[in-house]
């Protein structure tokens, strides 16, 4: 936070400024927070489409005949079972099972993977992969400088992207990626996102970012596409119940504590980092969970924020990890870890301590929002 180095700028920095973006420092990057009203941007992604610059995300390429073996050892998921052209949500943990980061891993070819880490954790993930690669015939490469990342998200995103690419988008399933050409630029086109909507993420060379952004903007005009900043990305992912590292996920938690134990594949062959402690965490989560991740919906209008105490009967029973006014629900919402005794949807008497006042909240199952398919 108090680093004296100036923040890094994406290839689209000048474009964002020309669009009047409010910029913010995010994980050492100067990123667009919003261009106008973040609520309008949020609603555009839910009903039409939004265009994001996500070039701060950290790409790491893993290649070699033992690339799959390395990732099966280093990550908690079964990476060898991913078919080329498909992607998977997974995590990298410490020896003690604590979460280092959550990741999307694309298997580009049989012996080539791209690991996408959060900006704030990219160096940690890179270092961990490099260390864990010892003894494997595989290479770990820092490709953060090699890619800009644009995302077009929302129900109209397929129509918009189709007008600037010949790639077979209809054949591209959710969590799949294929190489193609977008607005004349080579790109990896992935059907992934962090908004709860259908959408695409485009990994491309930074020097092509502007031409692709402009082409998507033009193609999106008739569909109501708007530039969208990190502020609405946060409310979109929160409504969709998606965790954010540093909020719902941390080194103090295992995937089981976060309710995401399904990403840990004990049945895969070979040992993997964290297996023993994770097996214990799995048992604990099943028999005697300490706290559970739940959704909270406000009855009033005050907004819960990360770090606020969740209370019941005057006792602290949990902590808010993320909170925001939900544009879709029209009410403040939050994700929170609460004691198992109060974690059932409909639990009575639960509130959030908002600057000394206990505001009533309804406990609900996540997500808050799910798109109609």
């Amino acid at each position: 936070m108090s680093q004296s180095v100036s923040p890094r700028r994406t290839a689209l920095d000048a474009l964002h400024r020309s669009l009047g973006a409010t910029m913010t420092d995010f994980a050492g990057w100067d990123m667009p927070l919003r261009y106008g009203s973040e609520r309008d941007e949020h609603n555009a992604v839910r009903t039409a489409a939004g265009l994001f610059d996500l070039s701060h995300m950290g790409e790491i390429t893993v290649t070699g005949v033992q690339a799959a073996d390395l990732l099966d050892h280093a990550l908690v998921g079964n990476m060898g079972s991913i078919k080329p052209g498909r992607a998977r949500y997974t995590m990298i943990c410490r020896e003690d099972g604590g979460i280092l980061d959550d990741l999307i891993v694309y298997r580009l070819e049989a012996d080539t993977y791209m690991v996408v880490a959060n900006a704030s954790n990219a160096q940690t993930v890179l270092d961990a992969l490099a260390e864990r690669a010892a003894g494997f015939d595989a290479e770990v490469r820092d490709d953060r400088e090699a890619y800009a990342l644009l995302a077009v998200q929302g129900p109209h995103s397929p129509a918009i992207l189709k007008s600037v690419t010949d790639a077979d988008l209809d054949g591209l399933k959710y969590y799949a990626g294929l190489p193609g050409t977008v607005a004349g630029a080579p790109a990896l086109i992935a059907r992934t996102g962090y908004t709860g909507e259908d959408g695409f993420e485009l990994f491309l060379a930074p020097e092509h970012a502007e031409q692709v952004w402009l082409a998507l903007t033009e193609a999106g005009q008739e569909y109501g596409l708007v530039p969208a900043g990190l502020s609405c990305r946060d409310t979109l992912r929160l409504e969709a119940g998606m965790p954010l590292y540093g909020h719902e996920l941390s080194t103090a938690l295992t995937p089981f504590d976060a309710g995401l134990g399904r990403v840990v594949k004990f049945e895969k062959t070979g040992d993997f980092v964290g297996r023993g402690p994770l097996a214990e965490a799995a048992e604990r989560a099943e028999k005697n969970p300490p706290r559970k991740l739940v959704g909270l919906i406000a009855e009033g209008r005050r907004v819960p924020r990360a770090g606020m105490a969740v209370v019941a009967d005057g006792e602290v029973i949990g902590e808010v990890t993320s909170g925001a006014p939900s544009p879709t629900l029209g009410k403040p919402i939050a994700m929170a870890y609460v004691d198992a005794a109060h974690a059932e949807p409909g639990s009575k008497g639960v509130g959030v301590d908002i600057r000394g006042t206990h505001e009533p909240y309804e406990v609900v199952a996540l997500p808050f929002y799910q798109r109609q398919k």
Partner: protein, 125 residues
């Protein structure tokens, strides 16, 4: 954006209208509204309450943050804008007009209020 000439401004980005029958209207500036982002919750001082120049008297909550509301004057609150409580987006759409916050029967002003030109220079917009 332009800051209306007839208003005066505080360093906390509130504006104050000229008194009519001893009552001034108070709001936040467009610069402040833009910095906050979409305002989603407004808590105003109650009618009849006494506010003190330079002290907090309410709060404004936006998507990303919560900010305290400061009073640029000392006096008795004679009206709070219920429209803005019901529709906080008025603070963003019309900060100098329909998005006004409360009215005070002024007994004392803050010493260092700025003119529109001074505030424009102070806020950089």
């Amino acid at each position: 954006m332009s800051n209306p000439k007839e208003l005066r401004y505080s360093k906390e980005h509130e504006w104050l209208s000229p008194a009519a029958d001893g009552v001034s209207t108070i709001g936040i500036t467009e610069h402040a509204a833009n910095a906050l982002g979409d305002v989603v919750f407004v808590e105003l001082p109650e009618v009849g309450a006494t506010v003190t120049a330079g002290e907090t008297c309410g709060e404004l909550e936006s998507t990303k943050s919560v900010s305290e509301l400061y009073s640029p004057v000392t006096g008795e609150v004679v009206e709070a804008n219920e429209d803005v409580v019901n529709d906080p987006s008025l603070v963003n759409s019309a900060p100098f007009e329909g998005g006004w916050l409360f009215k005070v029967r002024v007994s004392e002003e803050q010493q260092d209020l700025m003119s529109a030109d001074e505030y424009t220079e102070f806020s950089g917009s």
